[in-house]
């Protein structure tokens, strides 16, 4: 297939290569939104107006359970990935601590919502082990085995890293945790939609997801909490989500989330596109390595998400690179999306052993399910132009300084 079908709402004249930050809305979602707005009622209401939203909520839960290979009532809707991670880590800790387990294990490259949740536990006296991940993307499994003990309450390891796309051996690590009686959580926000997520096979106790990474609306997230596991609601309030997440549900975003899950369940194109995206990404990396040169790819010694490419480009400042790409019509990223818009070197890349300088010259390109070969070809031309220009200016400045 030469031309990828355009499935999503794209800005004209732009090449969007930042799908790990967020995904454009599927055209089908955009079409449906006006219909969903009619279900404006409160799903907790007993009367007529509560029925439609309550049904949408139930259907969404069912579609997502089918996609994730779990039971509907094991799913808790939240506002997004960050809240979901907070809920698992902070909502589980008190219960474990009551049982005398006060140690936690995670990695140094988790999403801030995971890292900061654990720092909050640390400040309350918990012991947290921060596992290292190599530049190639491999987690230190020996250190993991050593850290596990009968005091371990919870292990939290991301399924796929947001910046490098490198995958973690979740199934194996979950099994190891269970041997010592610890629970296992995986932040699968980036994995969802890009690789097969099979919770029953992974054997995890908790998993977290966000709707806006799979072409649905922003504002809905999900926690998988295995049947029998308990979580304390972070929000005091009503009995929504069986007492685990108070507050009236964001029906619109949740409905879109379930709708996209249903598309993934029914339409083979999303799975088919994974291999094509992966091939396109590999060709792109090959072209960058030969045409541009002085490029090192990060996190490539392990299996990766099919869509993600993280690279360090020598003699280029990532900030200027991004601005240059943006002005030329390309949306990419230097690392994690930052709310302030003020690019700092990525803590994840620094933790993986890159120098500050390397991290500042980093570029993350993340393809989408409908990124076309033509877009990548055009991107390669633009990237080369911008990099050439920046390198030339840098060389000129150096020469001028030397004089």
């Amino acid at each position: 297939m030469k031309h990828a079908p355009s499935l999503s709402l794209k800005d004209t004249g732009r090449i969007y290569l930042d799908h790990n930050a967020t995904t454009p809305l599927l055209n089908k979602v955009v079409e449906q939104v006006p219909h969903w707005l009619a279900a404006w009622g409160n799903p907790s209401s007993i009367h007529f107006s509560g029925r439609a939203p309550k049904n949408l909520l139930r259907e969404s839960r069912q579609h997502l359970a089918t996609l994730l290979k779990c039971r509907p009532l094991e799913l808790i809707f939240t506002s997004g990935g960050s809240e979901s991670n907070n809920l698992v880590i902070k909502g589980f800790a008190p219960l474990a601590q009551a049982l005398g387990r006060n140690e936690f294990i995670t990695t140094q490259i988790e999403h801030p919502s995971v890292k900061e949740s654990f720092r909050a536990l640390e400040s309350r006296g918990a012991k947290v082990h921060w596992l290292k991940v190599s530049r190639g993307g491999a987690i230190d499994l020996e250190a993991y085995a050593q850290a596990l003990c009968d005091k371990t309450a919870l292990v939290s390891i991301m399924a796929a890293n947001n910046e490098t796309g490198s995958l973690m051996p979740i199934k194996q690590m979950a099994e190891m945790a269970h041997v010592v009686g610890a629970k296992f959580h995986t932040d699968a926000v980036q994995a969802l939609g890009k690789i097969e997520v099979n919770l029953s096979e992974w054997g995890v106790d908790f998993a977290t997801f966000a709707a806006h990474k799979i072409y649905a609306l922003r504002g809905a997230g999900l926690v998988f909490s295995r049947k029998g596991e308990r979580l304390t609601s972070l929000i005091s309030g009503g009995n929504q989500e069986r007492g685990r997440r108070a507050g009236t549900e964001n029906i619109l975003a949740i409905t879109a989330f379930g709708f996209v899950a249903d598309l993934y369940n029914r339409e083979p194109i999303f799975v088919e596109r994974r291999d094509q995206v992966s091939a396109l990404r590999d060709q792109m990396e090959k072209a960058i390595a030969t045409d541009i040169g002085g490029v090192q790819f990060t996190g490539v010694e392990v299996a990766r998400l099919p869509n993600t490419s993280s690279m360090v480009i020598d003699n280029v400042d990532g900030e200027s690179l991004l601005m240059g790409l943006d002005l030329a019509g390309v949306s990419a990223s230097t690392g994690a999306a930052c709310s302030s818009g003020n690019p700092e070197p990525s803590p994840t890349l620094l933790a993986m052993g890159l120098s500050r300088r390397e991290a500042q010259g980093s570029l993350r390109v993340s393809l989408g399910c409908d990124t076309s070969r033509e877009e990548i070809t055009e991107f390669l031309v633009i990237l080369r132009n911008v990099v050439d220009r920046l390198r030339k200016i840098r060389a000129d400045v150096k020469n001028a300084d030397a004089k």
Binding site: G13, D317, E319, S320, M323, G324, D326, L327, A328, G329, S340, G341, N342, P343, E344, I382, R389, L390, I393, V397
Partner: protein, 374 residues
């Protein structure tokens, strides 16, 4: 909505340094109106969260996040691309560190000049090239005519004093779009075109200095033992009239509350870095007729012994002085200035900036002043 790879405008592409204040906002608006392709950029220069400054405190200075949001909102209103660039490391090494060490030496520095020298007209010049811009514009009150920098139309607002380190070779790449405006007209224009910052109060003072003041800032940046404590002496009698916990608390000309003790107003007239002694004297001891400057930068030719108008601090009205080269080659030259009339409170660390009529011709840093004698 946004620019494409080839500049759409024949007039050229301009990078505008936007602080979030009304001046640089109007600068961007005017250029857009004139048909340039405009790109807005805000330099994130100081981590306000680290200096414990509250949102309230940061309002109206160039380092608060509110200011970044204001710049962003103006850029959005003007439909121009906008970026925040991280200059914290560079700001720390070229502005903050110098500022702190200068105060510790008993000087009174002006960080705004270094910010212009190393950030606005160096770092941003590089960004200008990198983003294929033809020009760099700022919201300074200054004008450029025939390659010369001249004072702004609104004489009260003139900021050429802070521009004396500009390299002459970049002047043809610079634009000061509001240099010909009166402040009141500028605000009215901002209001007319619907900029949210039209009534925002002007920033005064130094952007990174919060409620704790200069002394508090210095104390937050260095360990206590680096502060130079000492005694306060009266110049005429050599008498010790007090103690102080650091010379960074003082600046030449400052009136200190010891007047009661001696029965007349007295002023800081000399700060001895070595001993940490702060000398107090009478108003007359504040006046000097000569000073020495270092690290000069020239924007035009001058003749040795030419008489120029010299400003020795931003708020100074300017005074005629004869300038004379006293030593050094191209890199380490020193010049001496002899004022026609004695000047009050000449202060090491401030800049002496030269004008020929309304033209900025250069300047240097005040390195040595006449020592008052009894």
């Amino acid at each position: 909505m946004y620019l494409n790879s080839t500049p759409a405008s024949k007039k050229g592409r301009v990078l505008v340094a936007m602080s979030g204040g009304v001046d640089s906002s109007v600068a961007a608006a005017v250029l857009k109106e004139q048909g340039y392709d405009v790109i807005g950029v805000t330099m994130q220069v100081w981590d306000y969260s680290a200096s414990h400054c509250t949102i309230d405190e940061g309002n109206g200075t160039c380092c608060s996040s509110l200011d970044v949001e204001d710049a962003r909102s103006v850029a959005d209103r003007l439909e121009i691309p906008f970026y925040v660039i991280n200059c914290e490391d560079k700001f720390k090494s070229t502005v903050i560190d110098n500022f702190v060490s200068s105060y510790l030496k008993g000087e009174t520095p002006i960080p705004c000049v270094n910010c212009n020298t190393f950030l606005k007209f160096d770092h941003l010049i590089q960004k200008m090239h990198e983003l294929q811009c033809d020009y760099l514009a700022t919201g300074h009150y200054a004008r450029i005519e025939d390659g010369r920098i001249i004072t702004s139309e609104d004489s009260l607002k003139d900021q050429t004093y802070f521009l004396f380190t500009l390299k002459p070779e970049i002047v043809n790449r610079l634009m000061f779009p509001i240099g010909g405006w009166q402040k009141s007209d500028l605000r009215a224009y901002a209001e007319k075109i619907g900029l949210t910052v039209a009534r925002k109060k002007d920033s005064t003072g130094i952007c990174f200095i919060g409620k704790t003041g200069y002394a508090g800032f210095i104390e937050s940046q260095v360990p206590r033992e680096q502060l130079k404590a000492g005694v306060i002496r009266l110049l005429q009698t050599n008498e010790i009239i007090g103690q102080h916990n650091g010379i960074h608390n003082f600046t030449i000309g400052q009136r200190k509350g010891f007047g009661v003790a001696v029965g007349r107003p007295i002023y800081v007239v000399k700060i001895d870095t070595e001993s940490g002694t702060v000398w107090m004297g009478d108003e007359e001891h504040l006046y000097s007729s000569t000073l020495e400057i270092r690290d000069l930068n020239w924007l035009d030719q001058v003749r040795d012994q030419e008489v120029l108008r010299v400003k020795i601090r931003y708020a100074h009205r300017g005074a005629d002085a004869e300038i004379r080269k006293i030593s050094g080659g191209e890199k380490d030259e020193r010049w001496q200035l002899s004022f026609v009339e004695k000047q009050r409170a000449v202060t090491v660390g401030q800049a002496a900036v030269f004008y020929r009529g309304s033209q900025l011709v250069g300047g240097g840093w005040i390195a040595r002043t006449e020592t008052p004698v009894t």
